[in-house]
């Protein structure tokens, strides 16, 4: 299912449409900085417009293209720290520490 037409420029990044934080975080750890930077550069300028667009729909009943867009933007949030702060996928000095999100509000 394609993204809403207005956001067609994000189609190359639909592998970031992932339903859970666990999947999003795993993809972040498995991605290169170049991949995350490309996704970030394409998506961040559209984030504000996407929020305004999605707010026309009730959150609990998003049609599939709109739900995919929201999940894509949640992945943008996931990669924002590597791109804006760390310059690497992992949290620096986090070693073997982990923190699993075992329950989250699903969309």
């Amino acid at each position: 299912m394609p993204l809403p037409a207005e956001f067609a420029s994000l189609e190359p990044f639909t592998d970031w449409v992932l339903a859970t934080e666990r999947e999003r975080y795993a993809k972040r750890l498995a991605s290169s900085m170049a991949q995350m930077q490309a996704f970030y550069d394409a998506a961040l300028p559209l984030l504000s417009r996407a929020s305004a667009y999605l707010d026309q729909f009730p959150l609990g009943a998003l049609p599939e293209p709109e739900r995919d867009l929201l999940l894509l933007m949640m992945s943008l949030v996931t990669v924002s720290f590597p791109v804006e702060v760390w310059k690497q996928a992992r949290v620096p000095d986090s070693g073997a520490a982990y923190l699993d999100l075992v329950a989250e509000p699903r969309v």
Binding site: L54, L59, T78, D93, L99, D100
Partner: protein, 426 residues
Amino acid sequence: MPHFAKPAEGSWTEHYPELGTGPVDYTDSVDPAYYEAERAAIFRHTWLNIGRVEQVPKTGSYFTKELAVAGTSLVVVHGKDGAIRAFHNMCRHRGNKLVWNDYPGAEVKGTCRQFTCKYHAWRYSLEGELTFVQQEEEFFGIDKGAYGLKAVRCEVWEGFIFVNLDPAALPLADYLGEMAKGLSGYPFGEMTEVFTYKAEVGSNWKLFIDAFTEFYHAPVLHQKQAVKDEADKLFRVGFEALHYELHSPHAMISSWGGMAPPKDVNMVKPIERVLRSGLFGPWDRPSIEGLDPLPAALNPARHRSWGTDSFHFFPNFMLLVWAPGWYLTYHYWPTAVDRHLFEANLYFVPARTARERLAHELAAVTFKEYALQDANTLEATQTMLKSRAVSEFPLCDQEILLRHLHKVTAGYVADYVKEHRDAAAR
């Protein structure tokens, strides 16, 4: 020169003279015998928070809680009469664990009309009564009334479910005391959108409480999380809390921060500017009742820069209330002297729009970035403490809650040891 007023004694620590100002001995975090004493003295006698009423919303809703530190497993259930009860998760026939799926050690939740033991089909009502014995005629006049599930003290404060394994313990409200009274009325029940994080951490349980009851570390350990100019300023200035308060065995720290919205948007990261959210949560307060005015215990210094209050309810429960109108909890469940299970729950008023949901997501993601740095540092601390090359450490005034925690813990352990010695002598 302090930026925020301190008590007349000159420091927060000296305001509570029983704490002293000398170095603190951290043998309490590496000694296996001390840990065993903590288990007996503290975790079998104090009120432990094991969840919220929203986890058992209707008749028959239940969840199990593994309490390795107290050597048991509990089942918590919403009865037909509306009461929430806790029982040892144990069949009265021959001691089989009553409620579990597939893996006996894994916590489960669900809804049922009664509990049926997997072993011989003994059945119990939601109120814990034994209602059915398979082939009852084979027993020797068994009195079903005498074989109900073994109950555990279970009481609720502001929607938080607590248990206590000591039948003689004071009521929960007395134990939680003044600090909890001051929080009454906060709209915890409206904040039902939950993010639950879990991790096993390679440190003594008290070390993680230490990390989360002082922010002296924040401008240093988390330096790289802020935009550079802001980080440099924070490092230079250091950290001072707005206020501390001890209500032994509990305590709280009140902190400034949050910048919601920031004075200068260049102080925050690009995504925070778009989503109007960050570590301190969404910048825009949810439109619910109960946030203005706030209960008396919040922002005790009545400071306009107030950002968050952290309440530590002894032994292992922390409650953080954030200025923008959400809260989070921490639980530290010891599994060994140098290990514990860490659980964090973030609670928001449910998002109505995608924009609100994204703001929550950014707060949750940011929380994880910080907590990962904190958790890993603890393992580094634990391994060096274990060397016992040095055992005593100087704590500063901004670490008053740590000094208090270790002192309170020592008090419980000493009382317990003394009681046992006296009992043995009798």
